[in-house]
Assembly symmetry: C2
Homo-oligomer: 78 residues x 2
Amino acid sequence: MRATVLVRPKAGILDPQGEAVESSLRQLGFLVDEARVGRVIELAFDGRDNARRELERMCEQLLANPLIESYEIEVDGA
Amino acid sequence: MRATVLVRPKAGILDPQGEAVESSLRQLGFLVDEARVGRVIELAFDGRDNARRELERMCEQLLANPLIESYEIEVDGA
């Protein structure tokens, strides 16, 4: 079973990596208002019946820091 | 205009961050076969007519390393 997890900095939380990307894009001449950088994690795993619940537990225990990051889980059909 | 860019390590390219996530998830008891870690970049920008072409240029010039990473562009409707 395959899944994609998107982890993003929550709104209002400082994102230094995003600020660096934003400023570099501007220096290259792109008209960027804002950039935010997060992580995309692709997983192949044995999910059995409750894949989504397993993925939520992975996010809460390791993949995301719930204080400052939000996560989005997409379970692939296959 | 808003867009999301997903940058992932290409297949076959070593991904130490993914390996670390994989091994940590296993240590926590999850039955993970593989984990790959990339970046998600959310952009607000002035895209005018050719937003996708602009985003491709951003990816090629800054956001992705085309030798080892692939990118996927999603332009949001709004």
